[in-house]
Subunit: 133 residues, 3 copies
Protein backbone atom coordinates (compact mmCIF):
# COMPACT_ATOMS: atom_id res chain seq x y z
CA UNK A 1 0.00 0.00 0.00
CA UNK A 2 1.70 3.21 -1.11
CA UNK A 3 -0.75 5.99 -0.27
CA UNK A 4 -0.31 7.99 2.91
CA UNK A 5 -2.86 10.30 4.51
CA UNK A 6 -1.93 13.34 6.58
CA UNK A 7 -3.77 15.83 8.77
CA UNK A 8 -2.51 19.32 9.54
CA UNK A 9 -3.80 22.27 11.52
CA UNK A 10 -3.46 25.54 9.62
CA UNK A 11 -3.04 29.01 11.14
CA UNK A 12 -4.43 32.32 9.89
CA UNK A 13 -6.80 32.75 6.98
CA UNK A 14 -4.12 32.36 4.28
CA UNK A 15 -0.85 30.50 4.77
CA UNK A 16 1.70 28.36 2.94
CA UNK A 17 2.62 25.45 5.22
CA UNK A 18 5.77 23.49 4.41
CA UNK A 19 4.97 19.77 3.98
CA UNK A 20 8.13 18.66 2.16
CA UNK A 21 9.40 16.54 5.06
CA UNK A 22 6.06 14.75 5.40
CA UNK A 23 6.02 13.99 1.68
CA UNK A 24 9.65 12.79 1.76
CA UNK A 25 8.76 10.48 4.62
CA UNK A 26 5.81 9.04 2.71
CA UNK A 27 8.05 8.39 -0.30
CA UNK A 28 10.59 6.59 1.89
CA UNK A 29 7.83 4.50 3.52
CA UNK A 30 6.37 3.59 0.13
CA UNK A 31 9.52 1.72 -0.90
CA UNK A 32 9.15 3.07 -4.45
CA UNK A 33 12.61 3.44 -6.02
CA UNK A 34 11.71 4.95 -9.41
CA UNK A 35 8.34 6.47 -10.17
CA UNK A 36 6.07 9.41 -9.52
CA UNK A 37 4.69 10.88 -6.30
CA UNK A 38 1.35 12.73 -6.41
CA UNK A 39 0.33 15.08 -3.60
CA UNK A 40 -3.44 15.71 -3.56
CA UNK A 41 -5.51 18.12 -1.46
CA UNK A 42 -9.17 17.07 -0.95
CA UNK A 43 -10.50 20.58 -0.18
CA UNK A 44 -12.04 23.36 -2.28
CA UNK A 45 -10.54 26.37 -0.47
CA UNK A 46 -6.98 25.04 -0.21
CA UNK A 47 -4.43 23.64 -2.66
CA UNK A 48 -0.84 22.48 -3.03
CA UNK A 49 2.06 24.33 -4.64
CA UNK A 50 5.80 24.00 -5.06
CA UNK A 51 8.00 27.02 -4.45
CA UNK A 52 11.11 28.39 -2.77
CA UNK A 53 12.13 26.77 0.51
CA UNK A 54 14.76 29.33 1.59
CA UNK A 55 13.50 32.89 2.10
CA UNK A 56 10.17 33.11 3.98
CA UNK A 57 9.57 36.46 2.29
CA UNK A 58 8.72 34.56 -0.90
CA UNK A 59 5.68 32.95 0.77
CA UNK A 60 4.70 36.36 2.14
CA UNK A 61 4.98 37.98 -1.32
CA UNK A 62 3.05 35.12 -2.95
CA UNK A 63 0.17 35.40 -0.47
CA UNK A 64 0.19 39.19 -0.83
CA UNK A 65 -0.22 38.89 -4.59
CA UNK A 66 -3.05 36.35 -4.22
CA UNK A 67 -4.93 38.65 -1.84
CA UNK A 68 -4.60 41.62 -4.21
CA UNK A 69 -5.41 39.60 -7.36
CA UNK A 70 -8.50 37.94 -5.82
CA UNK A 71 -9.95 40.47 -3.37
CA UNK A 72 -13.36 40.25 -1.73
CA UNK A 73 -15.85 41.44 -4.36
CA UNK A 74 -19.48 42.54 -3.88
CA UNK A 75 -20.28 40.75 -7.15
CA UNK A 76 -19.56 37.37 -5.52
CA UNK A 77 -22.84 35.60 -4.70
CA UNK A 78 -21.71 32.44 -2.89
CA UNK A 79 -23.48 32.70 0.46
CA UNK A 80 -20.53 31.43 2.52
CA UNK A 81 -18.64 34.59 1.54
CA UNK A 82 -15.40 32.75 0.70
CA UNK A 83 -15.49 32.78 -3.10
CA UNK A 84 -12.03 34.38 -3.11
CA UNK A 85 -10.68 31.26 -1.37
CA UNK A 86 -12.26 28.96 -3.96
CA UNK A 87 -10.67 30.98 -6.78
CA UNK A 88 -7.25 31.04 -5.11
CA UNK A 89 -7.44 27.26 -4.64
CA UNK A 90 -8.15 26.81 -8.37
CA UNK A 91 -5.16 29.00 -9.26
CA UNK A 92 -2.90 27.05 -6.88
CA UNK A 93 -4.21 23.67 -8.04
CA UNK A 94 -5.32 20.51 -6.21
CA UNK A 95 -2.44 18.21 -7.13
CA UNK A 96 1.21 18.17 -8.06
CA UNK A 97 3.26 15.24 -9.37
CA UNK A 98 6.99 14.87 -8.65
CA UNK A 99 9.48 12.27 -9.92
CA UNK A 100 10.94 9.69 -7.52
CA UNK A 101 14.51 8.58 -8.28
CA UNK A 102 16.65 6.19 -6.21
CA UNK A 103 13.94 6.15 -3.57
CA UNK A 104 13.86 9.92 -3.11
CA UNK A 105 11.79 12.87 -4.29
CA UNK A 106 13.57 14.57 -7.17
CA UNK A 107 12.86 18.14 -6.03
CA UNK A 108 15.10 20.97 -7.19
CA UNK A 109 17.60 22.47 -4.75
CA UNK A 110 15.39 25.44 -3.88
CA UNK A 111 12.03 23.69 -4.07
CA UNK A 112 9.72 23.00 -1.17
CA UNK A 113 6.16 21.62 -1.21
CA UNK A 114 3.54 23.80 0.49
CA UNK A 115 -0.02 23.20 1.62
CA UNK A 116 -1.77 26.39 0.47
CA UNK A 117 -4.47 27.42 2.94
CA UNK A 118 -6.85 30.14 1.70
CA UNK A 119 -9.72 29.92 4.21
CA UNK A 120 -8.25 28.89 7.55
CA UNK A 121 -7.58 28.25 10.23
CA UNK A 122 -8.89 24.70 9.83
CA UNK A 123 -7.98 21.07 10.27
CA UNK A 124 -6.94 19.97 6.77
CA UNK A 125 -5.88 16.78 5.01
CA UNK A 126 -3.71 15.74 2.08
CA UNK A 127 -2.74 12.47 0.43
CA UNK A 128 0.60 11.30 -0.96
CA UNK A 129 0.42 8.52 -3.58
CA UNK A 130 3.59 6.85 -4.86
CA UNK A 131 3.53 4.85 -8.08
CA UNK A 132 6.45 2.77 -9.33
CA UNK A 133 7.57 2.87 -12.94
CA UNK B 1 -6.76 -1.04 -20.94
CA UNK B 2 -7.49 1.64 -18.36
CA UNK B 3 -7.86 4.86 -20.32
CA UNK B 4 -11.33 6.15 -21.15
CA UNK B 5 -12.18 8.84 -23.68
CA UNK B 6 -15.19 11.13 -23.37
CA UNK B 7 -16.91 13.70 -25.57
CA UNK B 8 -19.07 16.51 -24.24
CA UNK B 9 -20.99 19.40 -25.78
CA UNK B 10 -20.41 22.66 -23.95
CA UNK B 11 -22.84 25.59 -23.71
CA UNK B 12 -22.05 29.30 -23.65
CA UNK B 13 -18.61 30.84 -24.13
CA UNK B 14 -17.42 30.08 -20.57
CA UNK B 15 -18.78 27.30 -18.39
CA UNK B 16 -17.78 24.80 -15.73
CA UNK B 17 -19.35 21.45 -16.61
CA UNK B 18 -19.52 18.79 -13.91
CA UNK B 19 -17.79 15.57 -15.04
CA UNK B 20 -17.34 13.87 -11.67
CA UNK B 21 -19.80 11.06 -12.43
CA UNK B 22 -18.12 10.30 -15.77
CA UNK B 23 -14.71 10.14 -14.07
CA UNK B 24 -16.06 7.93 -11.26
CA UNK B 25 -17.49 5.58 -13.88
CA UNK B 26 -14.14 5.37 -15.68
CA UNK B 27 -12.41 4.55 -12.39
CA UNK B 28 -14.92 1.77 -11.67
CA UNK B 29 -14.52 0.37 -15.22
CA UNK B 30 -10.71 0.43 -14.91
CA UNK B 31 -10.73 -2.09 -12.09
CA UNK B 32 -7.91 -0.18 -10.38
CA UNK B 33 -8.22 -0.62 -6.61
CA UNK B 34 -5.32 1.57 -5.38
CA UNK B 35 -3.57 4.10 -7.57
CA UNK B 36 -3.93 7.46 -9.27
CA UNK B 37 -6.47 8.77 -11.79
CA UNK B 38 -5.38 11.52 -14.21
CA UNK B 39 -7.97 13.62 -16.05
CA UNK B 40 -6.50 15.31 -19.15
CA UNK B 41 -8.03 17.89 -21.51
CA UNK B 42 -6.55 17.90 -25.05
CA UNK B 43 -7.57 21.49 -25.90
CA UNK B 44 -5.86 24.87 -25.65
CA UNK B 45 -8.87 27.01 -24.74
CA UNK B 46 -10.31 24.67 -22.09
CA UNK B 47 -8.98 22.95 -18.97
CA UNK B 48 -9.95 20.86 -15.96
CA UNK B 49 -10.37 22.00 -12.36
CA UNK B 50 -11.58 20.65 -9.06
CA UNK B 51 -13.88 22.79 -6.94
CA UNK B 52 -17.07 22.92 -4.88
CA UNK B 53 -19.89 20.61 -5.94
CA UNK B 54 -22.67 22.08 -3.81
CA UNK B 55 -23.52 25.75 -4.47
CA UNK B 56 -23.71 26.66 -8.20
CA UNK B 57 -22.90 30.26 -7.23
CA UNK B 58 -19.28 29.17 -6.71
CA UNK B 59 -18.92 28.30 -10.41
CA UNK B 60 -20.57 31.61 -11.29
CA UNK B 61 -18.18 33.55 -9.04
CA UNK B 62 -15.16 31.65 -10.38
CA UNK B 63 -16.08 32.40 -14.00
CA UNK B 64 -16.80 36.04 -13.11
CA UNK B 65 -13.32 36.42 -11.64
CA UNK B 66 -11.70 34.79 -14.68
CA UNK B 67 -13.52 37.17 -17.03
CA UNK B 68 -12.45 40.22 -15.03
CA UNK B 69 -8.84 39.02 -14.52
CA UNK B 70 -8.35 38.13 -18.19
CA UNK B 71 -10.48 40.58 -20.18
CA UNK B 72 -10.29 41.14 -23.94
CA UNK B 73 -7.27 43.37 -24.51
CA UNK B 74 -6.36 45.40 -27.61
CA UNK B 75 -2.74 44.43 -27.00
CA UNK B 76 -3.54 40.79 -27.82
CA UNK B 77 -2.29 39.97 -31.34
CA UNK B 78 -3.48 36.36 -31.86
CA UNK B 79 -5.62 36.63 -34.99
CA UNK B 80 -8.34 34.27 -33.76
CA UNK B 81 -9.21 36.84 -31.08
CA UNK B 82 -9.45 34.28 -28.26
CA UNK B 83 -6.16 34.90 -26.42
CA UNK B 84 -8.11 35.41 -23.20
CA UNK B 85 -9.37 31.80 -23.50
CA UNK B 86 -5.82 30.47 -23.96
CA UNK B 87 -4.66 32.33 -20.84
CA UNK B 88 -7.64 31.15 -18.76
CA UNK B 89 -6.93 27.56 -19.86
CA UNK B 90 -3.32 27.89 -18.69
CA UNK B 91 -4.48 29.21 -15.29
CA UNK B 92 -6.99 26.36 -14.94
CA UNK B 93 -4.50 23.71 -16.09
CA UNK B 94 -4.72 20.79 -18.52
CA UNK B 95 -4.58 17.91 -16.05
CA UNK B 96 -5.41 16.94 -12.51
CA UNK B 97 -4.41 13.76 -10.66
CA UNK B 98 -6.58 12.23 -7.93
CA UNK B 99 -5.90 9.22 -5.68
CA UNK B 100 -7.89 6.00 -6.10
CA UNK B 101 -8.52 4.01 -2.91
CA UNK B 102 -10.59 0.82 -2.57
CA UNK B 103 -11.62 1.20 -6.19
CA UNK B 104 -13.01 4.70 -5.79
CA UNK B 105 -11.88 8.28 -6.40
CA UNK B 106 -10.68 9.79 -3.14
CA UNK B 107 -12.31 13.21 -3.67
CA UNK B 108 -13.07 15.39 -0.68
CA UNK B 109 -16.67 15.72 0.51
CA UNK B 110 -17.25 19.03 -1.25
CA UNK B 111 -15.10 18.42 -4.32
CA UNK B 112 -16.36 18.00 -7.85
CA UNK B 113 -14.38 17.74 -11.10
CA UNK B 114 -15.26 20.30 -13.77
CA UNK B 115 -14.48 20.62 -17.45
CA UNK B 116 -13.57 24.32 -17.77
CA UNK B 117 -14.77 25.73 -21.11
CA UNK B 118 -13.40 29.17 -21.99
CA UNK B 119 -14.21 29.42 -25.73
CA UNK B 120 -17.43 27.52 -26.33
CA UNK B 121 -19.84 26.33 -27.26
CA UNK B 122 -17.94 23.43 -28.80
CA UNK B 123 -17.73 19.67 -28.94
CA UNK B 124 -14.91 18.83 -26.50
CA UNK B 125 -13.01 15.78 -25.32
CA UNK B 126 -11.20 14.58 -22.20
CA UNK B 127 -9.34 11.46 -21.15
CA UNK B 128 -9.33 9.57 -17.84
CA UNK B 129 -6.25 7.39 -17.20
CA UNK B 130 -6.11 5.08 -14.17
CA UNK B 131 -2.80 3.68 -12.99
CA UNK B 132 -2.46 1.05 -10.29
CA UNK B 133 0.10 1.34 -7.51
CA UNK C 1 14.37 3.03 -16.45
CA UNK C 2 11.74 5.37 -17.78
CA UNK C 3 12.71 8.81 -16.53
CA UNK C 4 14.61 11.17 -18.80
CA UNK C 5 16.41 14.35 -17.75
CA UNK C 6 16.87 17.36 -20.03
CA UNK C 7 18.83 20.60 -19.91
CA UNK C 8 17.89 23.68 -21.90
CA UNK C 9 19.27 27.20 -22.21
CA UNK C 10 16.57 29.83 -22.03
CA UNK C 11 16.65 33.28 -23.67
CA UNK C 12 15.23 36.55 -22.36
CA UNK C 13 13.70 37.07 -18.92
CA UNK C 14 10.34 35.48 -19.81
CA UNK C 15 9.83 32.93 -22.58
CA UNK C 16 7.79 29.89 -23.51
CA UNK C 17 10.16 27.31 -25.02
CA UNK C 18 8.64 24.45 -27.02
CA UNK C 19 9.72 21.08 -25.57
CA UNK C 20 7.10 18.84 -27.19
CA UNK C 21 9.61 17.02 -29.41
CA UNK C 22 11.91 16.30 -26.47
CA UNK C 23 8.99 14.90 -24.47
CA UNK C 24 7.79 12.80 -27.43
CA UNK C 25 11.31 11.39 -27.76
CA UNK C 26 11.41 10.47 -24.06
CA UNK C 27 8.06 8.70 -24.38
CA UNK C 28 9.31 6.71 -27.39
CA UNK C 29 12.53 5.78 -25.53
CA UNK C 30 10.56 4.68 -22.46
CA UNK C 31 8.84 1.90 -24.36
CA UNK C 32 5.61 2.61 -22.46
CA UNK C 33 2.65 1.73 -24.68
CA UNK C 34 -0.26 2.76 -22.45
CA UNK C 35 0.14 4.97 -19.41
CA UNK C 36 0.83 8.51 -18.25
CA UNK C 37 3.75 10.86 -18.89
CA UNK C 38 4.59 13.49 -16.25
CA UNK C 39 6.74 16.50 -17.12
CA UNK C 40 8.27 18.13 -14.02
CA UNK C 41 10.26 21.36 -13.66
CA UNK C 42 12.64 21.45 -10.62
CA UNK C 43 12.84 25.26 -10.40
CA UNK C 44 10.94 27.93 -8.45
CA UNK C 45 10.93 30.70 -11.07
CA UNK C 46 9.94 28.52 -14.05
CA UNK C 47 7.16 26.05 -14.80
CA UNK C 48 5.58 23.91 -17.50
CA UNK C 49 2.38 24.59 -19.44
CA UNK C 50 0.46 23.18 -22.38
CA UNK C 51 -0.89 25.55 -24.99
CA UNK C 52 -1.26 26.31 -28.70
CA UNK C 53 1.54 25.11 -30.98
CA UNK C 54 0.54 27.00 -34.13
CA UNK C 55 0.49 30.81 -33.83
CA UNK C 56 3.50 32.27 -31.96
CA UNK C 57 1.35 35.30 -31.10
CA UNK C 58 -0.41 33.13 -28.50
CA UNK C 59 2.83 32.75 -26.50
CA UNK C 60 3.42 36.48 -26.85
CA UNK C 61 -0.10 37.30 -25.61
CA UNK C 62 0.21 34.82 -22.72
CA UNK C 63 3.51 36.32 -21.54
CA UNK C 64 2.09 39.83 -21.93
CA UNK C 65 -0.82 38.97 -19.65
CA UNK C 66 1.50 37.40 -17.06
CA UNK C 67 3.68 40.52 -16.98
CA UNK C 68 0.65 42.78 -16.53
CA UNK C 69 -1.05 40.52 -13.94
CA UNK C 70 2.10 40.08 -11.84
CA UNK C 71 4.08 43.33 -12.20
CA UNK C 72 7.05 44.35 -10.08
CA UNK C 73 5.60 45.67 -6.81
CA UNK C 74 7.30 47.76 -4.13
CA UNK C 75 5.43 45.69 -1.53
CA UNK C 76 7.47 42.62 -2.47
CA UNK C 77 10.15 41.99 0.18
CA UNK C 78 12.08 39.00 -1.22
CA UNK C 79 15.62 40.35 -1.43
CA UNK C 80 16.43 38.73 -4.78
CA UNK C 81 13.83 41.01 -6.38
CA UNK C 82 12.20 38.26 -8.45
CA UNK C 83 9.03 37.60 -6.48
CA UNK C 84 7.01 38.18 -9.64
CA UNK C 85 8.80 35.19 -11.22
CA UNK C 86 7.97 32.96 -8.23
CA UNK C 87 4.29 33.93 -8.47
CA UNK C 88 4.16 33.37 -12.24
CA UNK C 89 5.76 29.93 -11.75
CA UNK C 90 3.05 29.01 -9.23
CA UNK C 91 0.32 30.11 -11.66
CA UNK C 92 1.91 28.09 -14.49
CA UNK C 93 2.50 25.02 -12.30
CA UNK C 94 5.46 22.69 -11.81
CA UNK C 95 4.07 19.56 -13.46
CA UNK C 96 1.68 18.36 -16.12
CA UNK C 97 0.51 14.79 -16.78
CA UNK C 98 -0.43 13.58 -20.27
CA UNK C 99 -1.85 10.21 -21.37
CA UNK C 100 0.28 7.82 -23.44
CA UNK C 101 -1.62 5.65 -25.95
CA UNK C 102 -0.12 3.21 -28.46
CA UNK C 103 3.33 4.38 -27.44
CA UNK C 104 2.66 8.06 -28.17
CA UNK C 105 1.70 11.18 -26.25
CA UNK C 106 -2.02 11.78 -26.58
CA UNK C 107 -1.79 15.56 -27.06
CA UNK C 108 -4.60 17.41 -28.81
CA UNK C 109 -4.08 18.61 -32.38
CA UNK C 110 -3.22 22.15 -31.37
CA UNK C 111 -1.39 21.38 -28.14
CA UNK C 112 2.30 21.88 -27.51
CA UNK C 113 4.25 21.53 -24.26
CA UNK C 114 6.22 24.61 -23.19
CA UNK C 115 8.93 25.22 -20.63
CA UNK C 116 7.80 28.50 -19.02
CA UNK C 117 10.81 30.67 -18.10
CA UNK C 118 10.01 33.65 -15.86
CA UNK C 119 13.49 34.66 -14.64
CA UNK C 120 15.95 33.90 -17.42
CA UNK C 121 18.13 33.63 -19.22
CA UNK C 122 19.41 30.56 -17.38
CA UNK C 123 20.45 26.98 -17.83
CA UNK C 124 17.35 25.00 -16.82
CA UNK C 125 16.30 21.39 -16.36
CA UNK C 126 13.17 19.27 -16.61
CA UNK C 127 12.29 15.61 -16.14
CA UNK C 128 9.97 13.33 -18.12
CA UNK C 129 8.64 10.28 -16.24
CA UNK C 130 6.63 7.61 -18.06
CA UNK C 131 4.53 5.14 -16.12
CA UNK C 132 2.78 2.17 -17.68
CA UNK C 133 -0.80 1.27 -16.85
Amino acid sequence: MSAAHFQIETEGRCALLPITDLVRGAVADSGVEEGVCTVFVPHTTAGVIINENADPDVARDVLGWFSRAVPPDPRFRHAEGNSDAHIKAILAGSSVSIPIAQGELELGTWQGIYFAEFDGPRCRRFTVSCIAD
